[in-house]
Symmetry: none
DNA sequence: CGCCATTAGGAATATTTATGCAATATGAAA
DNA sequence: TTTCATATTGCATAAATATTCCTAATGGCG
């Protein structure tokens, strides 16, 4: 049962882990993980997360997460002002500032969904994000206060 | 009326030129171009070409070609320090400076083709670009003049 | 030519997804 | 707490898309 956010997060995980070809199937999987909702709710959930169905090489249409990045990068920031998660969400690993940028490392595959969530929160001072597979690059507005941005990001990354 | 292949090609063209949100709408456009078919045929056509519907930044689900790089549209709008499209009809959404970088936001799927184009123009002062799905990051040479760079970029963005 | 296999496509229908409405829950403000 | 606003969700149904079934048209090939 749990709450909506954990359901959304679970949906993202399921979508990225296995081939889901319709909402009925997604419903089954969610049930097996303790979530009980109707197809109507799933339709709304998917729309909210901008999830869509695209064809794979075999022509099967499967649900996929949005904002899949085309590039992967590696970062090597310094860590004096970073965050380390106690109860990491989204496979969060680390966060470091470098110049007017933030580099967030995640477990493989998690970067884009975290980027999606950060984008959705419209954090002031964050001009944009680019996500690879396990690295998320955020560009900050000039004059941004690092502590302030960190304070705003922390609940998004860690909470729940 | 013509043959199937020219219809398929026309569909591809329409999809990449305008925002099509359902098969009914596509049907209208095809009619206006002299093709007369039913929704059933369109469904088959779209499947054959692996076309799918994905959400744009505003949450509207639109048909897109399987290869995002094929999306080529035109950009309009430009502005003061940065450039921003007040009513973004094309891929370009906004441009902002931050330190020695520029962040360009585009509609989903457009960033990489814009990056490609900018790279090809060898704009002096632009060291390199990296693109995600809807965000393009450009790294500028130190001491670059913003107005100068903007002046060089504008025609590229607008003429896309 | 006649015969068969293949392809294309319409009409009707099935399947899948989205939504209007109403009920309940949650949260904020007084 | 009470009240008002907003969010969440299910149910029923609408809308959108896919498919089944059938007919025609086409192209070898003997």
């Amino acid at each position: 049962m749990k709450n909506k956010n954990s359901r959304l997060e679970t949906i993202r995980l399921i979508i990225s882990e296995q081939d889901i070809k319709n909402q009925e199937q997604l419903l089954q999987v969610l049930n097996s993980r303790g979530f009980s909702v109707t197809q109507a709710t799933l339709s709304r959930d998917l729309k909210k997360m901008k999830i869509s169905k695209v064809a794979n090489t075999y022509g099967d249409y499967l649900y996929v997460l949005p904002n899949h990045a085309l590039l992967q990068k590696k970062a090597n920031g310094l860590a004096s002002e970073g965050i380390s998660a106690s109860q990491p969400r989204y496979g969060f690993v680390s966060l470091n500032f470098s110049g007017n940028m933030i580099v967030i490392k995640t477990k493989p595959g998690y970067a884009s969904s975290l980027a999606y969530d950060i984008d959705n929160h419209n954090v002031p001072g964050v001009l944009g994000t680019i996500a690879g597979d396990d690295t998320l690059l955020m560009v900050l507005a000039e004059g941004s206060n690092r502590q302030e941005i960190k304070r705003l990001l922390e609940p998004i990354i860690i909470s729940l």
